[in-house]
Symmetry: C2
Subunit: 152 residues, 2 copies
DNA sequence: TGAAACGCGGACAGATTTGGTCGTATACTA
DNA sequence: TAGTATACGACCAAATCTGTCCGCGTTTCA
């Protein structure tokens, strides 16, 4: 199906939300969850993962919560998805540490590995900032660089 | 996890196999399954789907089997995946016919829809022929066109 | 004309993944 | 020390995926 898990969606939404509220020092998992109507405890676990990956900073205790560890422009969708869902591979055989032993004749994964890398590149080129609504819709200044360039 | 299902893998492998044996009039599902060591009955159902989608031609009866309905260059990986796994969307909310009603605030899917379209474009640009081993590794004549070009 | 080889298609069971909850421990603040 | 928040593991339910079984229609060939 080639789709992200709901967890990754939630993670992206949460980071987007944080990016849109830069004035707030920290937002609790519950605040964000309520804003989007997603399960608070589930989101909490997702944010914990993102914290462990270094994308978020956490602060326990009263008035605690989460905040972006870096500028929204410096956090790519790829990092978020990778942190939550783990390394993704388009082919199911590339999963294990050892290639598909069962089907040594699976010669298909070599070409698809390039496709995989292309998709990863696309996701790497998207930042949380790109996802968020930044109202200053002036000229598309930093839109000059192509999102993808794939050479063989 | 953003990966293809095993069925899609199997389907691509089977088409690749057919593309590499153009001299054969028809190959039975069992033949292909044996060649790769994948479950024959499962592959049979996959090939049936591909037949219904018009990517394969089938022939029942003795010495029957499947053959590519078009030239391998004219069948894209996108078509194969789409036939087997159905329409894929990177975001889980874009799934239903109606957007995510539960979370009307899910403003994330709009930017990701473009990513989705990019990935689809990549897959559309890959043909079964690209996957197969075509021994005439002369000059990369038809490799001049870029696989992806994404403008905003 | 009948048997063998093959595609067609639904039903279904087992395995795996995902989504979500609960409980408890820990950290910080007032 | 009470209250609020993160941290983390165990656990369950639902959905999905993988694979099998079975009966049927079709074609070929002896």
């Amino acid at each position: 199906m080639l789709n992200l898990t709901k967890k990754a969606d939630y993670g992206l939404m949460a980071l987007k939300y944080l990016a849109e509220h830069p004035e707030t020092v920290a937002m609790s998992a519950k605040d964000i969850a309520d804003a989007y109507g997603i399960p608070a405890q589930l989101l909490a676990k997702i944010l914990q993962k993102l914290t462990k990956s270094g994308l978020l900073k956490s602060h326990a205790g009263m008035n605690g919560g989460y905040a972006l560890a870096r500028d929204a422009r410096e956090i790519s969708a790829y990092e978020v998805i990778h942190s939550i869902d783990g390394p993704f591979f388009i082919t199911s055989c590339t999963k294990g540490t050892n290639g598909c032993e069962l089907t040594p004749s699976c010669t298909i994964k070599e070409p698809l590995a390039r496709v995989n890398e292309t998709i990863a590149g696309v996701l790497r080129s998207i930042s949380i900032y790109d996802l968020s609504d930044h109202e200053q819709t002036a000229g598309q200044s930093e839109r000059s660089s192509p999102l993808v360039s794939l050479a063989r």
